[in-house]
Amino acid sequence: MNPIQSLIKDLADQYGRKRESLLPVMQGVVQREKFLSEYAMVEIAREMDIPAAEVFGTATFYSFLETKPAGKYIIRVCKTITCAMKGKNQLMFAIQDMLKIKPGETTPDKRFTLLETNCLGWCHKAPAMLINDEVYTEVSPERVREILSKYMKENI
């Protein structure tokens, strides 16, 4: 059994093999692997006895279930109205400048993926972003450089 197969088996053992367990299982794979590869989706389908097309259809519905390879740290910058008003563009430019990637891309060393996302629920402390599950609010371009350089140095 390869690592992905055994991860999926463990998750299915933990959450069960009913349809209701599909999201938790997929979330578990994304947590570890950062994205759901086609191979992983087919394995989930096999393990849980759900048609592969259904697994694919469900996975692609949810924006947090990545189906494209992603970096170790996924940066999600909120682009909804208040964050857009309070400097989201400057924030994006600062990140792009630092990581040399455009929105939707991953750095060649596979450490960072940059994405824009819809309302994160921090409008009173805009602009906001997520790095994996970690929230950062009122992020100025200066602060984002500090934050990212920490992530670049540390091997968290």
Binding site: K18, R19, E20, S21, L22, L23, P24, M26, Q27, I50, E54, G57, T58, F61, Y62, S63, F64, L65, K79, T80, I81, T82, A84, M85, T117, N118, C119, L120, G121, W122, C123, H124, K125, A126, L130, D133, E134, V135
Partner: protein, 394 residues
């Protein structure tokens, strides 16, 4: 300057009370009917935005005949400009859990779920600890009720209750046809109460302080208090608990920066109110309030005169286009066309009266879209285009 200052700050929701065990055990000593009647007489309405009477929802579910029933706390807070539920779950989670358990006792449900949006995953660990402690106490008082967290994965539409249940059942979050309503056939086809986080906390207030205390706050048809998430061009953004029924004018006096051009009430799916209509607008559920009365899930976004309303609408439409689940054509194609349409008018590729065609399209969406998402795009679109037409064109 003489003006009627009428904002009434209240402090129920975030009041730190350590007596949830007492409230829970005292409340479940009452008969289910008694609790339901109390909720009905408080006139509490759902605080997620739709405003369905909470007591009635519990009553319908308690009357439904089924072996298994469920209670779901809707914490998929995705409406732009809303951030109150996160604050409730991080500050006073035990109030939410107590309310869920009482709901379970009243309706006969033995299982409860908190559907937590993926963006709030950082809350999960702490919340699970509180749940463990809570379940331990439930066991002590022989109350058979379990609570689990179900994590969302970044889909705004899953805040719609039937989409939420589809998502929990492991499918795409596509809203179902109604009827049947969740009170009859909800999660896994069983009768289910789906309540917003804030609604549940209000029931706690009612259990503890009585329906009268709650009913005496607010105005006719809009009883009690509401949490408002204030953001945008304001010197004091944040979360405020206020009595319902306030005039928007008073709200802007309190929260505006002196240059408020418009307020978006109820998030992107709500209405934009321009300055000239502030004094005729009240915040509450529809009823006999003078002038226009706007319900809200609590999102209040202020815009000052430096903001272009075209950019605001453009931002909303992009949001809806991405968050539309895509199953029904009016919403899927409508959102795309509205966005393309306003851009074309702005660039001068379409004449100004093309906006009227787009307004017609939103009317069609309101009539034919399957769920609240597609139906409510018309709200912000018509109120922005109607009041700031010149900004759309020039």
């Amino acid at each position: 300057m003489a003006y009627s200052y009428q904002l009434k700050r209240v402090d129920f929701i975030f009041r730190n009370e350590n007596d949830w065990e007492k409230v829970l055990s005292a409340t479940i000593k009452k008969k289910p009917d008694e609790i339901i009647n109390e909720l009905i007489s408080s006139e509490l309405k759902g605080r997620g935005g739709a405003g369905f009477p909470t007591g009635l929802k519990w009553k319908l579910t308690s009357e439904a005949k089924a072996t298994t029933k469920y209670v779901i706390c809707n914490a998929d807070e995705g409406e732009p400009g809303t951030f109150k539920d996160r604050e409730i779950l991080s500050k006073v989670p035990y109030k939410v859990l107590t309310a869920m358990a009482v709901c379970g006792y009243v309706t006969g449900a033995k299982e409860g779920f908190i559907y937590l949006r993926g963006e709030y995953k950082f809350l999960e660990e702490e919340l699970n600890k509180v749940i463990d402690e809570f379940e331990y106490y439930c066991k002590e008082i022989n109350l058979d009720f379990k609570i689990k967290i179900f994590m969302g994965s970044g889909a705004y539409i899953c805040g719609e209750e039937t989409a939420l249940m589809e998502s929990m059942e492991g499918r795409r979050g596509e809203p179902r046809n109604k009827p049947p309503f969740p009170t009859q056939a909800g999660y896994r086809g069983m009768p289910t109460v789906v309540n917003n986080v804030e609604t549940l906390v209000h029931t706690w207030t009612i259990f503890k302080y009585g329906a009268k205390k709650f009913y005496d706050l607010g105005v006719q048809y809009s009883r009690g208090t509401k949490l408002f998430s204030v953001s945008g061009d304001t010197p004091k953004p944040g979360i405020y608990e206020l009595e319902l029924g306030m005039s928007l004018q008073d709200f802007v006096y309190e929260f505006g920066d002196g240059d408020t051009k418009a307020v978006q009430v109820g998030g992107a799916s709500g209405f934009l109110v321009p300055r000239k209509k502030f004094k005729d607008t009240a915040i509450g559920y529809e009823g006999k309030l003078v002038g226009i009365s706007l319900p809200t899930g609590g999102s209040m976004m202020l815009f000052n005169s430096s903001r272009s309303m075209f950019n605001v609408l453009d931002n909303y439409l992009e949001f809806f286009r991405e968050e539309s689940c895509g199953q029904c054509t009016p919403c899927r194609v409508g959102c795309q066309q509205l966005l393309l349409g306003i851009k074309a008018v702005k660039r001068g590729e379409k004449p100004a009266n093309y906006l009227d065609k787009l307004l017609k399209l939103t009317e069609t969406m309101q009539l034919t879209a399957k769920c609240g998402l597609g139906q409510s795009v018309a709200n912000s679109f018509s109120s922005i285009v109607g009041n700031f037409r010149e900004e759309m064109i020039y």
